[in-house]
């Protein structure tokens, strides 16, 4: 095949790269320098970095994402470990993945019922004598539901990392007299570091931007970076400020990747992950 013929079918893809990858990133940076009257300005950044509201919001968002990520790791690691000891591992893994194929909005909707004023949890609390509490529209409900949604995305990479470990290494560790705790901290954790990192990357950044959950479950009490961007773009129509926050989120994304090492593809590779092992 001649070289030019090869390049012709490459054109649509290159167009896609220019139009939908490079241009949008450039545009969001460009837009961040404009105010509501379409004048070039640095005011958005000045406002962002001097306003305590924005800074607190960013810090809060970061804090929530951190809690969600840590909670997800703590729940997922043992689960991944025990999953690896089962027969028919692949089938069980598939069952872990299955809930991610249910529309996110439906899962959020389920929790509106479960956590509601007269919902099941409150009925149970009433039954054991504590009495109903406000659960929906609190920080707790937001963190709980976000963690619930992210768990499979964390289990998968950790599971894959554990599955790759040679069982002989664990046996050797025990034969050499290590306690279970030592085996866990000295052998298992270092060997599965990559899986944890991949999971953290898959969970942390999306947790900064789950605006639909803050609306449906957090009841507008929780404002994350994602919520702020959505608000500026679709409600107050202040695209400049929205873009500024977007740029901050992009920078955070690159920072978190730099901190956690080389990047991995995002969460949605679930389907792939299942097949890889």
């Amino acid at each position: 095949m001649s070289n030019t013929a090869k390049r012709i079918y490459y054109i649509p893809y290159m167009l896609w790269i220019v139009l939908f990858v490079i241009a949008p990133v450039a545009l969001i940076i460009y837009q961040s320098f404009f105010n509501l009257d379409h004048q070039f300005t640095l005011a958005n950044y000045a406002t962002y970095f001097t306003s305590s509201t924005y800074l607190m919001m960013t810090l809060n968002s970061f804090w929530y994402a951190l809690i969600i990520t840590v909670a997800t790791v703590l729940i997922s690691y043992p689960a991944a470990l025990f999953l690896n000891q089962l027969k028919h591992k692949n089938l069980w893994l598939l069952l872990i993945i299955l809930p991610t194929w249910i529309n996110l909005l439906l899962k959020a909707y389920a929790f509106i019922g479960i956590f509601g004023q007269h919902g099941s949890v409150n009925q149970f609390l009433g039954f054991i004598g504590i009495g109903p509490k406000q659960i929906l529209f609190t920080d707790f409900s937001f963190i709980f539901v976000a963690t619930y949604i992210e768990i499979p995305f964390m289990i998968l990479p950790i599971y894959n990392a554990i599955a790759e470990i040679d069982p002989a290494l664990l046996a050797a560790s025990r034969d050499l007299g290590a306690t279970n705790w030592q085996t866990l901290t000295r052998v298992l954790l270092p060997l599965t570091r990559k899986g944890i990192v991949a999971g953290v990357q898959a969970v942390f950044i999306p947790s900064l931007s789950l605006f639909m959950l803050t609306r449906l479950i957090g009841g507008n009490r929780v404002i994350t970076l994602g919520t702020a961007i959505e608000e500026h773009f679709l409600t107050t129509m202040n695209w400049g400020m929205g873009s500024t926050i977007g740029v901050v989120l992009i920078v955070m994304m690159f920072l978190s990747m730099a901190v956690t090492g080389e990047r991995h593809h995002k969460r949605k590779e679930i389907g792939t992950g299942a097949k890889e092992k």
Binding site: Y9, M14, P78, W101
Partner: protein, 273 residues
């Protein structure tokens, strides 16, 4: 050891319960009369009847499916061509740049993709609606197709292509008769992933959809903000069955692929010895 295992199983049971209870809860109440998800009153199919009589919702379901089929088809074509192009790039540094660019949309948060596409469409003067949503879904599905197809191309033995040329095949013939058949499993997997991306997406669609067009996710969001409607529960039960079917299909595709490559490997070994 036995005791530890039991503890582990108990923990797993707990995790599975947490994962599936909310879904079971939704489906359970889809069979209840009344208007809340609080107490199960009487068994009924009425919510399903309401669902099937709701022409607006049915239309949105069909639109969402059409969108997913169309966007994943186009994304698969463009992505496959892109993967062939990347594989054909000789210089390692250029290839790495292309791959990094390819993966930008994979790692970006949905709100960023949505917001930046909204700016893009507005600047281009495109009206928001089916067209803008379709373009966005194609755009964010292309990279996963590339990632599914590229490994298959790289697995391919260059000798196969050389042999085809030596035997007098033209460029298009090599592509159609040799390359494409070999990478078909990757293309199928890519199409499938693109399809589920499109079905699942909420955030990007929400940004670029405008007023006239809604996908199922957007519709559920606006209904959920208004409160509980057991019709949505009935819908979620049906969607759960649909997701289950999709997962099973995907599982069998993967099993089949694994079997085929295993067989090929064995064949290759047999012919070598």
């Amino acid at each position: 050891m036995q005791k530890k295992n039991n503890l582990g199983r108990l923990y797993l049971v707990f995790v599975f319960l947490v994962l599936y209870l909310p879904i079971a809860y939704l489906i359970y109440f889809s069979f209840s009369t009344g208007t809340t998800m609080n107490t199960f009153k009487h068994f009924t199919w009425a919510n399903y009847q309401t669902l099937f009589a709701d022409t607006r919702l049915i239309q949105i379901v069909l639109q969402t499916l059409l969108l997913a089929l169309l966007s994943s088809l186009i994304a698969t074509i463009v992505g496959t061509m892109g993967a062939l192009g990347i594989a054909g790039t000789k210089r390692m540094s250029n290839r790495n740049i292309m791959l990094s660019l390819n993966n930008i949309l994979m790692v970006s948060p949905d709100v960023i993709i949505g917001a930046s596409f909204l700016i893009l469409f507005t600047m281009l003067g495109l009206s928001l609606g089916f067209g803008s949503v379709l373009a966005s879904h194609i755009a964010f599905s292309i990279p996963i197709v590339v990632l599914m197809v590229l490994p298959r191309i790289q697995e391919m033995d260059q000798a196969l292509i050389d042999a085809a040329y030596d035997l007098g095949a033209s460029g298009p013939q090599v592509l159609n008769r040799v390359i494409l058949p070999f990478i078909t499993p990757g293309i199928v997997a890519g199409y499938f992933m693109a399809f589920t991306y499109s079905l699942d997406d909420f955030a990007v669609t929400f940004f670029v959809t405008g007023n006239g067009f809604a996908t199922l996710s957007v519709e559920i969001y606006s209904r959920a903000r208004q409160g509980i409607s057991l019709e949505i529960n009935a819908l979620s039960a049906l969607m759960f069955i649909f997701a289950l079917a999709l997962v099973l299909i995907y599982f069998f595709i993967q099993m089949h692929q694994a079997n085929v490559s295993e067989r090929n490997r064995k064949k290759a070994e047999a012919s070598e010895s």
